[in-house]
């Protein structure tokens, strides 16, 4: 080995040179092609049999606005019900008690295994099975009065959602290190309190992205409740076009509202994620 007082020759000095900008011909070509296609589609719609004035007029019509409010109310309530049921089912699923385990598994099996629209129709027509419902001796009512479109939609959507959410929650809870549960036990927390205070908050971090996904699905799934007369936005749009025959215009109106709502949800999800990420190394540096 030689002691090297100077650096070896033959490696030119690059410090004054810059990397040349490349022109990405293919990207430009692809972009141009896409613009042409989009323009063609836009032109087709502009010249098509669509009265755009109807679209803009009905976009903010009272019935439509009421419909989108009903859609959101139903989506939020049914999702809340779904998350509660899902969390309970997931906790039951992970409990050592075989009875609780199989009840939870049966719930998931039944409500994931049948179409949502069928479940909605069943809830709505519950009066055919049980003409009166209530607690014997205390309170009874005719099922047709109780099972309003609102309640039927809430039960149908929420209970169905819970069956899916339980799997998401279970995955989240399994993702938490077993040492966390042991540490919670070691300071004397009981099973349920350990779940609520230690395991679930950590599971939420994992669970929020798929739940956000499910919630977006829920917003759109509420449109199925139109079949049981729940006045959500699609149902109201349909009612309008039955009267004025502007079918496409009103479907576009409803579509715009769904898109708008879903676009607002994404940043909201980011906020939630940030909340539950506290304490962990930042994910979006």
């Amino acid at each position: 080995m030689r002691a090297a007082p100077t650096l070896a020759e033959g490696f030119p000095d690059l410090s004054q040179m810059q990397i040349a900008r490349e022109i990405h011909w293919r990207r430009w070509l692809a972009a141009a092609a896409i613009v042409v296609v989009l323009a063609a589609i836009a032109r087709a719609f502009a010249n098509g049999q669509i009265e755009w004035s109807y679209v803009s007029r009905f976009l903010t019509a009272k019935v439509i606005l009421q419909g989108i409010v009903n859609t959101m109310v139903m989506a939020v309530l049914a999702m809340a019900l779904g998350i509660v049921l899902g969390a309970v089912a997931a906790i039951m699923r992970l409990s050592p008690n075989p009875v609780l385990k199989s009840v939870a598994a049966g719930y998931t099996w039944l409500f994931r295994g049948t179409p949502l629209i069928l479940q909605l129709l069943l809830w709505f027509n519950l009066a055919l099975v049980f003409p009166t419902i209530g607690i014997p001796g205390l309170w009874t009512a005719r099922a047709v009065d109780v099972m309003t479109p609102f309640l039927a939609a809430l039960l149908g959507l929420g209970i169905n959602q819970g069956a899916y959410t339980s799997e998401v929650m279970r995955a989240g809870m399994l993702s938490v290190d077993a040492g966390q549960y042991e540490a919670a036990q070691a300071i004397g927390l009981g099973r349920l309190r350990a779940l609520r205070r230690i395991i679930l908050p950590q599971a939420m971090r994992v669970v929020i992205p798929p739940l956000g996904n499910e919630f977006i699905g829920m917003v759109k799934a509420t449109s199925l409740a139109s079949v049981i007369q729940y006045p959500e936005v699609l149902h109201n749009a349909e009612n309008i076009y039955y009267a004025n025959s502007r079918v496409i215009e009103l479907l576009i109106v409803a579509g715009c509202w769904y898109l708008l709502v879903v676009s607002i949800l994404t940043p909201l999800q980011m906020l939630l994620e940030r909340h539950f990420a506290r304490g962990t190394a930042r994910i979006n540096r």
Partner: protein, 254 residues
């Protein structure tokens, strides 16, 4: 005459076919610091976990502060305690894990106050003041509001010790508290444990730090294949072991 704080009698535990503890009997006296040493898989962790009932023993019995753990006698039969009763018994022991197991979504201070407030139902203000005092004691007065991810391994383990102490346990269990740490962080955790030992806390410590055992332990227990092979004063077991297996183990570690 004083009684042992922990009395372990003929405890056995198997995982499937594998016998992790074989007929282990041991006393731990109030104020004593007992170090458990032994090869990997010899059952040291399992023994600690049986004492705070994270693992349920197959046979034998463990008494803590005169109370039988996990079961009670009724009409000549043993009946398992309820989860609630077991949780109450656990409050008498504090456990420090090899991998810290701090709650990552809670600050250092919240990790410490969780047990006293949630489990013991104590006044949050009072608990907070005590937690700050505990953090000062483990040298982390300035880290109260840091999350575990913002702390070094040694700092996390010291918070974990403070968290266990906050429950005012009579017995502290340490499972290789320094073996997940970089060498330069080991000293700060051992210093906290040494201070705790000098304050009179009864401690059972699974460790590979023979220097710590020699200096701090009153007694050293050597385990092999789920059984206690040798037990005695630290200086004797580490300096002049009687059993050939202990000698072989010590020769291999040093």
């Amino acid at each position: 005459m004083t009684k042992p704080l922990v009395a372990i009698r003929s405890v056995s535990k198997a995982f499937g076919e594998f016998q992790a503890l074989r007929n282990v009997s041991l006393d731990v006296w109030p104020g004593e610091v007992l170090c458990l040493i032994g090869a990997s898989g010899s059952g040291k962790t399992t023994l600690l976990r049986c004492i705070n009932q994270l693992t349920v023993i197959d046979s034998g019995g463990i008494w803590l502060d005169g109370e039988m753990l996990g079961v009670r006698e009724e009409g000549g039969k043993l009946r398992r305690l309820t989860d609630r009763q077991i949780a109450r018994q656990r409050l008498k022991t504090g456990m420090v894990f090899q991998r810290f197991n701090l709650f990552p979504h809670k600050t250092a201070l919240e990790n410490i106050t969780e047990g006293p407030v949630q489990v013991q139902g104590r006044n949050p203000g009072e608990v907070r003041a005590e937690a700050i005092e505990l953090l000062r004691r483990v040298g982390l007065a300035t880290k109260a509001d840091s999350y575990p991810s913002q702390l070094s391994g040694g700092q996390q383990q010291r918070v974990a010790i403070a968290r266990a102490l906050a429950m005012k346990p009579m017995l502290m269990l340490f499972d290789e508290p320094t073996s997940a740490l970089d060498p330069e962080l080991v000293g700060e955790v051992l210093a906290v444990m040494k201070e705790l030992a000098q304050s009179g806390m009864t401690m059972m410590v699974v460790t590979h730090e023979l220097g710590f055992a020699r200096e701090v332990a009153d007694r050293v227990v050597y385990m092999d294949h789920g059984a206690i092979v040798e037990s005695g004063r630290a200086a004797d077991v580490l300096g002049a072991p009687r059993e050939a297996r202990t000698r072989a183990f010590l020769a291999a570690v040093i």
